[in-house]
């Protein structure tokens, strides 16, 4: 089975899904599960032929380990999210189109990860952008879809410029050979580097391109937010990966100005990553909408991944790659749980929720594990990856970046705790007394993802072996793995041992909790009110104004979105000016312009 067969099969399946959806949208939705499962199976089938190249019309592909790894992460997210599709599909305005776009965006990402030339890369990239744009619009907001597209377009158009520039210099579109022509041309290389990586930055949501994430994640259909955050954001990481491997930023900029031993251009991008960590964290803490909160956390985690990959060494790179999967799993899980809560309650606003643990214990547990991983608390996947990234930063002595990363780690406690307590813990609002736990079909992805998160956390070496292969492929030192331990410069990390220690701790806590349980259930209306009637009990809910003191500290939101709006207004103003100058319905104005043009031309022609 070749990659081409896989892609064609998938396209066929997507078409079949579409046709089925036209007949019965729910059936089509089930078929998205089948198709994404088939993708996983087929990816395993083609794993043996890594290193081969394929071409089809103007598409060329190369099967690489890194592509395979990225595809696996992506398809896992898609597969698990697909389980939600049947329940939401009836609510979509265009169910058949949703199913089709869902699958086409998956195929697009796979094509992109295996792209061998720029055109294939760009076409697949744009396919994903457009299909996801059209999916996002089916959610709550058209504006978010618009912002998503514009930010993506900024990235992709600028990157297309870089691609064409490289093509002009090298005469080839093949990614790996094309970039090699840039060596010895530092200025050109600098332009290409910054323009090329822009697509990655815009997609992974690096400051100042992060504006789309909270909007799009927050308002996309609930079944697509997990894919956006867990999956599609990682496309940016792939571009970052290309910029250090195919573009070989470290070699190209080896002789240029360096900061802390890192070439300045790379350092600048890393600093942007660090800023994203800080901004994402701070903003996440402030959010009331659970999905927006998770979206901002994706911004922060994108910063980790970017820094890890760009460091391009033995440890941090492995950490970045590992964080890719651990964040994908955790974020997809978190979004899925929020989606299920929203499915049952109809809202994602934390101030309106609370006490869901009483009604949805499974969802609660799954969410807990996901946020533990997301916050980087052992023994989940996020811990190992963040630890590796911090280790790498510390080894290099990159203090500023390390400080940002530490800040993000600590901040993430604050923000992941908020939905936990606001949505799941505390008092149950009266209107939610009757809601039920997620049904078994919805529970499947939660179990699958939780198991995966635990696996990555406890046995990270399973994944790290693939990452070591990627490092081999990329030509950097492989991470040293002995048995179940990871060997780094100042010791070893045994995730299993960490898990066991934490497991004991957890057990002891559990025993104490069960034995000493004396708490009384307090409902929301169970309040002492001095004979006053409570009209809006929601205001008394402790999760409203959750982090008020903290929010007062960071009162002023940063002005990036304003910047985009200002540019847009400026464009409109210029457009308006052009319109009023040149599109007057009075002929005299046009005659005037003819005269002016003539005069300018004559003076220009004579001078």
């Amino acid at each position: 089975m070749t990659l081409i067969t896989v892609l064609i099969t998938l396209l066929t399946l997507a078409a079949v899904t579409y046709l089925l959806s036209l007949v019965n949208s729910k059936l089509g939705a089930y078929f998205t599960i089948v198709t994404s499962l088939a993708t996983i199976v087929m990816l395993f089938l083609i794993k043996d032929s890594i290193g081969q190249s394929y071409s089809l019309s103007f598409f060329t592909f190369k099967l690489t380990t890194v592509g395979w790894y990225f595809s696996m992460v992506m398809v896992t997210v898609y597969f698990t999210t697909a389980f939600l599709n049947p329940f939401w599909i009836k609510k979509m305005i265009y169910p058949a189109a949703y199913n089709l776009f869902f699958l086409v965006s998956l195929i697009g990402t796979i094509g992109m990860f295996f792209a061998r030339d720029f055109i294939t890369l760009f076409i697949c990239w744009e396919t994903v952008v457009w299909t996801s744009t059209f999916i996002i619009q089916m959610g709550k907001s058209r504006k978010s879809s618009y912002v998503y597209y514009v930010v993506s377009a900024i990235g992709s158009m600028v990157t297309l410029f870089a691609m064409m520039l490289v093509y002009q210099v090298s005469g080839t579109l093949e990614i790996s050979t094309a970039f090699s022509a840039l060596s010895g041309q530092p200025v050109l290389a600098l332009i290409v580097f910054f323009t090329f990586i822009l697509a990655g930055l815009s997609k992974i949501g690096i400051f100042p391109f992060h504006v789309w994430l909270p909007m799009a994640h927050g308002s996309a259909p609930h079944t697509f937010s997990p894919v956006l955050s867990g999956g599609l954001v990682k496309m940016g990481a792939f571009i970052a990966y290309l910029s250090v491997t195919a573009f070989a930023a470290y070699e190209v900029f080896a002789n240029t100005f360096t900061i802390m031993g890192i070439p300045a251009p790379l350092y600048i991008i890393m600093v942007l990553g660090a800023i994203s960590i800080v901004v994402g964290t701070v903003m996440a803490i402030r959010q009331d909408d659970a999905k927006k909160l998770l979206a901002y956390s994706s911004v922060a985690n994108g910063g980790y991944i970017l820094i890890g990959i760009l460091l391009y060494d033995q440890i941090a790179f492995a950490g970045g790659m590992l964080h890719l999967i651990s964040h994908a799993l955790a974020s997809a899980t978190a979004f899925i749980t929020i989606a299920i809560v929203a499915y049952r309650t109809g809202t994602t606003k934390m101030s309106e929720l609370g006490g869901m643990i009483h009604r949805m214990p499974v969802t609660y547990t799954v969410y807990l594990i996901a946020i533990i991983s997301m916050a980087g608390i052992p023994p989940m996947g996020g811990f190992v990856s963040k630890w590796l990234i911090l280790q790498g930063l510390a080894d290099r002595g990159l203090l500023f970046l390390a400080a940002a990363a530490f800040f993000g780690s600590i901040g993430s406690f604050m923000y992941v705790f908020r939905p936990l307590s606001a949505v799941f813990l505390g008092q149950l609002a009266p209107k939610y007394e009757k809601i039920k736990e997620a049904n078994i079909m919805m529970q499947i992805p939660m179990y699958l993802l939780t198991i995966a998160t635990l696996l990555v956390g406890v046995f990270p070496n399973v994944v790290l072996r693939v990452i070591a292969d990627i490092q081999l492929e990329a030509g950097i030192q492989e991470i040293v793995l002995v048995g179940n331990t990871i060997v780094v410069s100042n010791g070893v990390l045994d995730a299993l041992r960490v898990f066991i220690v934490f497991g004991y701790g957890f057990l002891i806590a559990l025993v104490i909790f069960i034995l000493r349980r004396k708490s009384r259930r307090v409902t929301l209306m169970d309040t002492y009110t001095s004979a006053e009637f409570i009209h809006t009990p929601e205001l008394l809910h402790y999760s409203s104004n959750f982090y008020a003191p903290f929010e007062r500290l960071t009162k002023k939101p940063y002005p990036v979105l304003n910047l985009y709006e200002k540019v847009s207004i400026k464009i409109k103003e210029i457009g308006h000016m052009a319109e009023s100058l040149f599109s007057s319905s009075k002929p005299a104005i046009t005659i005037f312009w003819i005269i002016i043009v003539f005069a300018i031309f004559f003076l220009g022609g004579v001078l």
Binding site: M138, A153, F161, M164, S585, F602
Partner: protein, 478 residues
């Protein structure tokens, strides 16, 4: 009998006949269109002399690959436009027939003055057609500006005649190298402005808004794709093969074109009405096409031109249907209109996406060719502008599409119930035609080797030396 002169003469004959046989007007129009479209495919390249007098003396029709593409494209588009809106033809069949003759004359003729005559025929037909909107003051604006444009063009060619002693394009082109830039400045400039009025270059495009935005389902696509496409083909022919001026003049013309492109796109971004968005976008695209012609990237220009006119044909037809059915084309009051007209919506979307340059549609292929051509010419500023404009373009197109597809207010999940009242936009026949045209957009972008073969037939267009994107290029290392 594949004499290209028949492309001009048969419609004329039918126009004269339909004065006599009044009732048959509409059907004669259809006959003329079908005849022309069929004949266009059988025309071969070469020169056709009229009246038996060889070129510098007599008038000749020159069919090269460039013209051939134009003739086939424009005749087919006109056929499609009129078939789609056949119900609106009414009494205008004679005017449309003469316009058909005029358009073919403009494309084919090899004589500068003859071009003027056919341009006048086309333009006068356009004046009459634009008055169908009953907004006579816009028509007057168009008439005044158009007449000034033709007066300037006429002055320009007479100056060229004074300098070269000939009116034949090939003859003039052969004699041009003997002249100085200074001598050529005024005539070339006058011709540039004269054609610029029809091409819709920015400072002289004041008439466009009034005329396009009030046009109906028949007239809007006719203007925006058929007549505008013809004007651009003529522009290309004149400024690539006949008047290839250099130096400052080229730079200034390039600046004007690029200015048109940028301002047109910006103005489109500022619009609320579908037709206004489209008309400013076609002004912008016309600026880009002329910039490409002036820069010598003929192939890229032709592909862009083709992709643009096809897209505009579909989009203006549907925009015309908006005003027809909903009495508005403000996209905010058409929220979710495609919910009820999915297939129409799909055709519109494909056309729009091609305009925005999304991959695997012909618009993207055009964009690739433009970029490759400019980079090859070591020109980095224009590609940067083009890509930045692509963002603006994509932005307003996505805004438009979102409004038309997804009904609902901000913060609410898009639902069918939020959409505007249900009305059928286009008849089934017309929807199918639009979808077929949309299919051409897709096919042209996917089967790029065939596209290239069809467009160039293996020869460079007007001596174009710039590179084009081919399948083998993407394979790079192999």
């Amino acid at each position: 009998m594949n004499n290209p002169v028949l492309l001009i003469v048969i419609p004329l004959l039918l126009a004269f006949l339909s004065v006599i046989i009044k009732k048959a007007g509409k059907w004669l129009l259809l006959v003329g269109l079908l005849f022309n479209t069929a004949l266009a495919f059988f025309i071969t390249t070469g020169e056709t002399i009229i009246g038996g007098f060889a070129p510098p003396y007599g008038i000749n029709l020159v069919v090269d690959q460039f013209t051939l593409v134009g003739v086939i494209l424009i005749n087919t588009l006109m056929l499609i436009t009129i078939v789609v809106s056949f119900d609106l033809v009414g009494k205008y069949s004679i005017v449309l027939l003469t316009a058909l003759a005029g358009i073919n004359g403009m494309l084919l003729t090899g004589d500068l003055f003859n071009l003027f005559v056919f341009m006048e025929i086309t333009v006068i037909a356009a004046y009459i057609l634009s008055a169908q909107a009953k907004k006579y003051h816009h028509t007057i604006t168009y008439l005044v500006i158009g007449s000034v444009g033709s007066v300037l063009y006429l002055l320009g060619i007479i100056l060229l005649y004074n300098l070269t002693g000939s009116l034949n394009m090939a003859d003039v082109a052969a004699k041009l190298p003997l002249l100085t830039t200074k001598e050529l400045l005024v005539p070339v400039l006058l011709i540039f402005i004269g054609i610029g009025v029809e091409v819709k270059l920015m400072p002289v495009s004041g008439w466009v808004k009034g005329v396009y935005s009030n046009a109906n389902r028949l007239i809007a696509p006719l203007f925006a794709s058929v007549i505008a496409g013809t004007a651009l083909f003529v522009f290309g022919k004149l400024f690539v093969s006949v008047l290839p001026v250099s130096d400052t003049l080229t730079l200034l013309m390039l600046i004007m074109s690029v200015m048109t492109f940028v301002f047109g796109e910006f103005a489109a971004f500022n619009q609320k009405r579908v037709k206004n968005i489209l008309l400013y976008s076609s002004i912008g695209q016309a600026g880009l096409v002329t910039a490409l012609f002036i820069s010598g990237l003929v192939y890229a220009a032709v592909i862009l031109l083709i992709s643009n006119v096809i897209s505009k044909l579909i989009m203006f037809t549907i925009a015309g249907a908006f005003t027809e059915k909903y009495e508005t084309d403000d996209y905010e009051s058409l929220n979710g209109v495609f919910v009820h007209n999915k297939f129409t919506g799909i055709a519109f979307t494909i056309a729009a996406l091609s305009m925005a340059g999304i991959p695997l549609l012909i618009g993207f292929y055009a964009k690739l060719n433009i970029l490759i051509g400019f980079f090859q010419a070591q020109n980095y500023v224009l590609p940067a502008i083009i890509l930045l404009m692509a963002i603006v373009e994509g932005a307003y197109i996505i805004k438009l599409l979102l409004a038309l597809w997804a009904p609902g207010k901000e913060g609410q999940v898009s639902e069918k119930s939020f959409a505007v009242e249900k009305k059928q936009l286009l008849s089934v026949k017309n929807t199918i035609i639009c979808l077929i045209v949309a299919l051409v957009i897709i096919a042209g972008g996917v089967l790029i080797d065939i596209t290239e073969k069809v467009v160039t037939d293996g020869q460079p267009l007007l001596g174009d030396q710039s590179p084009s994107f081919t399948i083998s290029q993407s394979k790079g290392g192999e």
